[in-house]
């Protein structure tokens, strides 16, 4: 199995998925502001136009609502468009077409027309993107019947779920995290599918269920490793999908651990972390041995200055402390801090990151 050695970044995994989808189905087209440009959406679309031509890989005017509607129109006419927003914030301009049309076209016409559309949106941050360029708006999409909404964490899942999303006959909001794009993972070359509705237990543990979304899964795993050294076994569930939420995997885990903590990349109030808690409280109340807990962003927009973002984004150390405290376990803080101290500046994904976005 030489395959097992193949490690590529998530950005490369996404590019590979796009290329393979275009290869296997000529109805697949890719469009977005900057798709064929030299930066290629953080490298996720680089080379696609050279390979598949200008008739299938498009740049886009700055017209988010219009282009979304145009892609819906193409999708109901037999194409399978994949569109992309470099920041989820720009998708706010397209909420009308996403919510009123894409999500409902199949339903409104009683199932006569399909909308095979993938909308890639990127959350997270370079450095200092600030209030309008670093939102994590998954909750807005998660509330909408007719959409599927996914947030893969690993490069493996990113490829498999993107292929699944493109093959799916429904509109899928595919949420990528900027800080995951440069992380390498084992990603098989041949096309494969990861289902759009299944959470993944990526670390088993019997003391607490930590359901995490997207990049928070990375921090969650680090926290879990550190806590394991102190005898706290955290079960890390990578939620992977937001709509539908795989509640049964989460509920089963809570039935084993008795404790639920949810870590999300978004603001706490009105976010999907609350939805997970409400779902568990409704359906597995008696399994809960103690109050559930959300670890999310504070309810304020992201500031820009690194002096101000410090502490804004909960990291592994924050998670580990919060988990230990929630379980009433006292761990010498210096040990945790020592283990989880981030040597990279807190506002960049990798040490080599040099800006500007």
């Amino acid at each position: 199995m030489p395959e097992i050695e193949r490690r590529i970044t998530q950005a490369e995994a996404i590019r590979e998925a796009l290329a393979q989808a275009m290869e296997e189905d000529e109805r697949v087209i890719v469009i977005g502001e900057g798709v064929p440009d030299p930066k290629g959406i953080f490298g996720t679309t680089t080379g696609l136009q050279q390979r598949f031509g200008k008739a299938r890989v498009f740049d886009s005017p700055l017209s988010e609502n219009g282009i979304t509607g145009i892609c819906v129109g193409a999708a109901i006419s037999g194409m399978r468009p994949v569109m992309v927003h470099q920041r989820i914030d720009f998708a706010l301009l397209a909420m009308d077409q996403i919510v009123n049309n894409a999500a409902k076209w199949h339903y409104m016409f009683a199932g006569q027309v399909k909308v095979p559309l993938v909308i890639r949106v990127i959350i997270g941050r370079g450095w200092g993107p600030g209030p309008q360029h670093a939102q994590s708006l998954q909750a807005l999409f998660a509330h909408i019947p007719g959409l599927k909404v996914v947030m893969p964490t690993s490069g493996y899942d990113a490829k498999g779920m993107l292929l699944a999303a493109i093959r799916d006959d429904n509109p899928v909001i595919f949420i990528e995290h900027r800080w995951l794009q440069d992380i390498a993972d084992h990603v098989p070359e041949a096309p494969y599918i990861v289902p759009l509705d299944q959470a993944l237990i990526c670390r088993p543990g019997q003391h607490v269920t930590l359901a995490a979304f997207s990049y928070m899964t990375v921090e969650a795993r680090l926290a879990a490793e550190a806590l394991a050294e102190h005898g706290i076994e955290v079960e890390v569930v990578d939620a992977r999908s937001v709509r539908p939420l795989d509640m049964s995997t989460i509920v089963e885990s809570v039935r084993r651990t008795g404790t639920l903590i949810v870590a999300d990349t978004a603001w706490k109030t009105g976010g999907i972390a609350g939805e997970v808690i409400a779902g568990v409280a409704e359906t597995a109340f008696s399994a809960l041995k103690r109050p559930p807990l959300r670890i999310c962003l504070p309810d304020i927009p992201a500031p820009t200055s690194p002096h101000l973002t410090r502490g804004y984004y909960p990291d592994a150390l924050y998670l580990a402390r919060a988990i230990a405290a929630h379980l009433g376990r006292s761990i010498p803080d210096a040990e945790l801090a020592d283990r989880l101290f981030r040597t990279t500046p807190h506002d960049v994904p990798q040490r080599e990151f040099r800006g500007p976005f």
Partner: protein, 316 residues
């Protein structure tokens, strides 16, 4: 398309909408309806220039477009009645109608919502090398939505086979054009975007048809997107079956002026000037009355839809 068949198509739409209006009071069509009475010539003149494989999108006021493109009458009526045989099985009502077999690709009530869809459908047709023209109907008010400009820009950029038809009836709901837009022609903006422009008096079905034929021929030959603006007038209330001149939002005499140039009756008089024509007109009236009566009967004979089916419509 002969003058008579243009006339007949308009007459049919007029009578169907009158029948809807008449029966609306019975409280059995329990959804908003927006009638096109007075505006039939635009729908008919444009759609008569299309082939079956061409596609049409509409908006909140779409009965006429659906019927002119050949949409199934019984399915539309059943839909307005909220019945299982409706074209959306009752999910949509009057504001959501579709007949894929006829090339009526859908209408929904968010204003402007179908304009980018039409461009997307035209884009797909071009990418797939299909011989297909896509038409979208919308009102003067809808032109104020930014998405219209985004859609036109993309269509012109990619030279897509799409015909934008603006039915300028001077009002959006109860608000006159002059309260919403400055005094300049709508089509001039489309022209500046790079569309080819046609205009027509929307109460003259032959003028609309002539312009549409040229437009569609242009588009089939690979020409730039076309924007057709038609002046027209809505006779009844914005939404619902009634007259509403008493509300006072129209200048007095305006409605009467437009009624006097009624596209249907003007053509009826012209045609009726010969005895043969008069006979044809009378026959058409009778046939249409019969068709409408049976369509209502057939629609009302539909079973009722079942709420249990709804979740199945959500995802493909």
């Amino acid at each position: 398309m002969t003058t008579f068949s243009l006339f007949r198509s308009m007459l049919r739409i007029r009578r169907i909408e009158e029948a809807i209006a008449e029966r609306y009071g019975a409280q059995e069509m329990r959804c908003p309806v927006h009638l096109s009475i007075g505006q039939e010539a635009v729908a008919v003149g444009v759609c008569a220039a299309l082939q079956p494989q061409d596609g049409v999108f509409g908006g909140h006021r779409a009965h006429a477009h659906y019927l002119a493109k050949g949409g199934d009458l019984t399915a539309m009526l059943a839909e307005i009645y909220g019945l299982e045989n409706g074209c959306c099985r009752g999910v949509g009502g009057s504001m959501h109608i579709i007949d894929l077999a006829a090339g009526f690709l859908g209408a929904v009530p968010i204003v402007g919502a179908t304009i980018p869809l039409a461009v997307g459908a035209a884009w797909a047709a071009k990418l797939r090398n299909e011989d297909k023209v896509i038409v979208v109907f919308f009102g003067d008010g809808t032109f104020e939505e930014g998405v219209v400009h985004e859609s036109i820009n993309f269509a012109v950029l990619h030279r897509l086979p799409v015909l934008f038809v603006c039915e300028n009836n001077l009002y959006a709901c109860y608000t006159r054009l002059s309260e919403r837009q400055p005094d300049r022609p709508i089509h001039a903006i489309a022209a500046a975007h790079g569309c080819r422009i046609f205009t027509a008096e929307g109460d003259d079905v032959e003028a609309v048809h002539a312009a549409s034929r040229m437009a569609v021929a242009d588009l089939r030959a690979g020409g730039a997107p076309v924007f057709l603006e038609c002046s027209t007038y809505r006779w009844r209330e914005h939404c619902g079956p009634n007259q509403d001149d008493h509300l006072g939002y129209r200048p007095s005499g305006e409605l009467a002026k437009w009624e006097s140039t009624c596209p249907v009756s003007r053509l009826a008089s012209t045609l009726s000037s010969s005895p043969e024509g008069a006979r044809l007109v009378a026959a058409a009236e009778a046939e249409i009355a019969g068709e409408i009566a049976s369509a209502f009967a057939a629609a009302l004979a539909s079973p009722v839809p079942q709420p249990a089916d709804l979740p199945g419509y959500l995802y493909a």
